[in-house]
Symmetry: C2
Subunit: 283 residues, 2 copies
């Protein structure tokens, strides 16, 4: 970290970022500071374990937790575990890659939509102020920020996309265009999985519309063929974000009594691939 992280950005130019501190764990980080913000930008591999991991760096009433991650449902674990802390959750659109260690090429977008995962124990006005303060910090740095009162709906909208294309591309090692060309039924199944996710959202009172399926299918058909992070992770034998993208929607479906047979099989198959990747000695 002496050399810092080199960021070659289409928007911010070439900068080198040298953090004030680098720690091996939240426990180690807790020895040095009380934190106003804890921002999670790690992969959402095990959302249910997040509260335990973060506990050392979260000071009640002081620390705001910010999730900039894929998937849905991770906030629930946090708002339940930290009843006196605001949780901000974000949907981000950014294109970046790291071809060599510590050198990040930022090549597309830097928009972020954020909002509060409302905590019924906290004053809504206070929580609104916290998200506005955080939004202002990012805006002052030049990032495009939208604050959305219903960020959970935005997260579920994104997971409608991710649940289908992440799992189907990973399970077939085809990009979206190739997958949709592989059989007449592929588009039917894609629509079916997207519809199941919307069913689950609606059963919880989250405001999604079924026309989103048409929009996402149209968008995909117009593209040249997209690969997903899950497909790239599997290709490189890395663990995938199974639980945030597929597991949490499936568990929400069961809680609210929604049938999701397509999601269930997608989950089981991706989970099995993930098991293969994470248990190489057993295969």
């Amino acid at each position: 970290m002496l050399q810092g992280l080199v960021l070659n950005s289409i928007h911010f130019g070439d900068v080198t970022f040298r953090p004030d501190g680098v720690y091996k764990s939240p426990m180690e980080a807790s020895e040095h500071e009380i934190y106003d913000y804890v921002i999670c930008t790690n992969k959402a591999l095990d959302p249910s374990a997040l509260p335990g991991t973060l506990a050392p760096v979260v000071t009640p009433e002081v620390t705001t937790i910010v999730l900039i991650q894929n998937g849905v449902g991770s906030e629930i674990y946090l708002t339940e575990a930290f009843s006196k802390n605001t949780v901000i959750t974000c949907v981000t659109w950014v294109g970046a890659k790291q071809d060599s260690p510590g050198v990040i090429e930022h090549n597309n977008g830097d928009q972020i939509t954020m909002g509060v995962a409302w905590n019924k124990n906290l004053d809504r006005i206070v929580e609104e102020k916290k998200v506005e303060t955080f939004a202002t910090i990012l805006r002052n740095g030049g990032t495009g920020v939208q604050v959305d009162d219903d960020i959970i709906a935005r997260r579920w909208e994104k997971v409608v996309w991710n649940a289908a294309w992440n799992s189907f591309t990973a399970l077939t090692m085809l990009n979206t265009q190739q997958f949709l060309n592989s059989s007449e039924e592929a588009i039917v199944i894609s629509r079916r999985l997207m519809t199941e996710i919307i069913d689950v959202a609606k059963a919880q009172g989250i405001g999604l519309e079924y026309k989103l399926v048409d929009e996402l299918i149209d968008k995909t058909l117009k593209s040249h063929g997209l690969v997903s992070s899950m497909m790239m992770d599997l290709k490189n034998n890395r663990p995938m974000e199974v639980e945030g993208i597929l597991g949490n929607p499936m568990r929400a479906a069961r809680k609210f009594g929604v049938a999701t047979p397509t999601l269930d099989l997608a989950y089981v198959l991706v989970k099995a691939q993930n098991w293969r990747v994470t248990n190489p000695s057993k295969v």
Copy 2:
């Protein structure tokens, strides 16, 4: 073929088989003989194309067509195309491998259950005689043969097994035991797919029982972990028997108005993998 096929068999000993004729196509074979039997032991890659392929070697009222293949539904294409010919269809249990070209190691079993795919245009007594004659030929050679009046039910029973384990092992590259260990939901989904296949069979009046699911799951849990022909085909970039094992049950489900969401996704994913294997230039 001058050297013949070498068969090293646990049951029949070491023999060399030299066929009377080897032809590149049924069309070429039709120039030499009128055939009493045409026995299809090829992979069931495209069952709907079978009548067109076999037409040159099928003589009306003379030729009996025998299928020794995986899957269900292939007989329907044949009985519709050849209204004056008996179709015999078989479920076979045999263990064999071909590690070097033309040398077959027969290492386990040689039982076969056969029966007529009854043709409503033909006399049942005549068809019964034809299957008995064919069974006698095989019995005289030393093979264990059972004739079953309801062979279509036996075929569907086998496809309950094949639809689940072929597709799940191929899509995860895990054996059955590893797959069932990979998540708590894996066994639930396995039972669900098997149940859907039985739903489809029952809707057609084919006599399967739901307890078959328990039997097949128990059998699998007691095994050390099985790999499937579909998994081996995919691993070796060979086309898979998608249509006979998954496609025909799915189309029968639609014809008889049975919902098969698990089967539908399994079909689409295996079909996509098959597309990837058979369209290497497009990937």
